[in-house]
């Protein structure tokens, strides 16, 4: 049972990096790929229908951590205190940019929120890098440091690559000028997930040793199992609905 929930945790965390990674990457690349407001609108419209379905994987990670690995939850979040605060503020800033950018007409309004999307995305990538570096170091050292910064740059670069590939896949030849197939997108997703998959594999025994007791995990499994087909179905449906076969320009974009 504990191995099952370790698998769930790993799947959610890796899924978050593989999916939300391209949203964060495109956010970082927004001023580079979108020189004009029209181009930026097109990039945001491309990722917009996926954001809500992608970012929620991290919400689920925190929930599973609390329910299935409660000792780790407190220790990890508190041990990473400044990084987690930076991550949350960045996440909120990025999301606020997406939700608010189209709510007023002015060019300055939309441009300002586009910068919020960009800054928030950089903040997310760098915070993740620092968090992963600190976790790999066993949460012993200070969570903010040079190694963390280096790791953050690697994560940011991988997310940017993933975002670039996603845009080339969904809008071939339009935003990036390049076209990429589904295979390339899977490769870039794997690349984006690598920074979190590696520490997870190393830390698996430690996580297993701190899983919640069997009673708790049994209750979690019993209640969550009936919903898994719906969860998988909703995610697949999102990709089928907003994938490249239907022109993204025809999406009534709310973000």
């Amino acid at each position: 049972m504990d191995i099952l929930w370790l698998g769930v945790l790993a799947l959610l965390l890796i899924g978050y990096f593989a999916l939300e990674g391209f949203d964060i990457g495109l956010g970082m690349l927004l001023p580079v790929l979108g020189r004009t407001q029209r181009d930026r609108d097109r990039i945001v419209s491309a990722m917009a229908p996926f954001v809500l379905a992608n970012e929620v994987w991290l919400v689920a990670v925190a929930g599973v951590l609390f329910g299935a690995f409660p000792e780790i939850e407190g220790r990890a979040l508190f041990g990473l205190y400044p990084v987690v605060v930076a991550l949350l503020v960045s996440w909120i800033l990025r999301d606020a940019g997406l939700w608010f950018r189209r709510r007023l007409d002015g060019a300055a309004w939309r441009a300002a929120w586009d910068w919020a999307v960009c800054a928030g995305s950089y903040g997310l990538a760098l915070s993740w890098g620092m968090a992963l570096a600190a976790i790999a170091g066993g949460l012993s050292g200070p969570p903010v440091g040079l190694a963390g910064l280096g790791c953050g740059i690697v994560v940011a670069a991988l997310f940017a690559f993933h975002g670039w590939t996603f845009a080339s896949w969904l809008l071939p030849g339009q935003v990036t000028g390049a076209s990429r197939g589904t295979g390339a997108l899977v490769v870039s997703a794997c690349a984006a997930a690598l920074p979190v998959a590696a520490p997870l594999a190393v830390l698996a025994p430690w996580l297993l040793g701190h899983a919640a007791p069997a009673e708790t995990l049994g209750v979690l499994s019993l209640i969550i199992a009936p919903f898994t087909p719906l969860m998988v179905g909703a995610q697949v449906w999102t990709w089928r609905t907003f994938g490249p076969r239907r022109a993204a320009d025809r999406t009534p974009s709310f973000f």
């Binding site: 809500l52 407190g74 220790r75 979040l77 508190f78 009673e215 708790t216 999406t251 709310f254």
Partner: protein, 393 residues
Amino acid sequence: MDVLDLARTQFAVTGSLHFLFVALTLGLAPLVAIMHTRHAVTGRPDHERATRFWGQIYVTNYALGIFTGLVMEFQFGLSWSGLSEYAGDVFGAPLAIETLGAFFLESTFLGLWIFGWHRLPRWLHLACIWLVTLTAYASAFWIMVANAFLQNPAGAVERGGRLVLTDLGALLTNPTMTMALPHVIGASLWVAGFTVMGASAYQLFRRTSEREFFTSSLRAGVLAAFAGSLIAVGFGYAQFGVVSAFQPDKFKQPLAGPGLGIMIGIGQPLQFLIMFVLMPVLYWLPRWRWAQPVLMIVTPLPFLTAIAGWLVRENGRQPWLINGKLTVADAMSPGLTSGMVTLSFVGFAGVLGLLAVVDYLLIARTVRRGPAAATLGVDEPAGPTTRAHALSH
């Protein structure tokens, strides 16, 4: 203020902000779903306009519910790691189920609903908003299960210095949950009903061209508020028995007593006003110009009573985090410093406070511009031309 007070204040502020937005989300979701159902069944354009207009208000409000909710979820680990250390095996379960079995689905289906206009088949698109509503209420259930456990730790025993889950049935039928959940849901419907009523009164008062649209929505708002206020008040009084059984000293706490006074002092007369004044004259009410400013002025009151209600529930639990088991002081993360909390508090409260103000201004603007300017689900190519087209209709 010492570090404990700071951490408590941070939780109180972010929690209150969260509920302010979540209450409206919970109340508006079924209203928007009903409007969308009428649109799907009849195909009438006025029902589509209503769905898109109130739907835009709903999703604009939803954004802040997410932002504040993120901080809430992670704050447990940041400031109160003693809680997961001691009771995570029990308290963590409903939270994990909420994120996986409810919010995960809610967020995914909300994305499909927002961006699925004119793309999804009519009935599947309608199913999305009903699934969003259903999962939102499932969320409320699991959060209330978790909160009720803090008020009355049922279904768990202490073993080796930690709480372990022994009785799932007792956890899920906690009397401090079964009475409080309908109370919260009633309050949410009330909040949403008054928001719809107040926004409609404003539009009618300005004598815009949308008289028909807002005449019917004003009536719908009062009806929703009537249903919500009956449920909220009924289950409010019903909780006195439960509270005196499990937390006899609850109302003696410094904020809980006055909070109770505000909740009943405002809530009870307001409920009478709806039942004995607004409901009997419901048919004529939208035409009475003098009544419209009054309806606008009372709109924020159920929000105020909702926050007062949470102050009663949470402050009345002090000094316990888990009633009789774990104090708030013992649950605080060991090593947490005033500097850390101050810094994160400034960050969270500053960012969330600012965004909350912006969000309310955007909602007010959506209300002011009326259904013709709603951008949710506009059937136009994306781009800067969207708004111009929407206005020219």
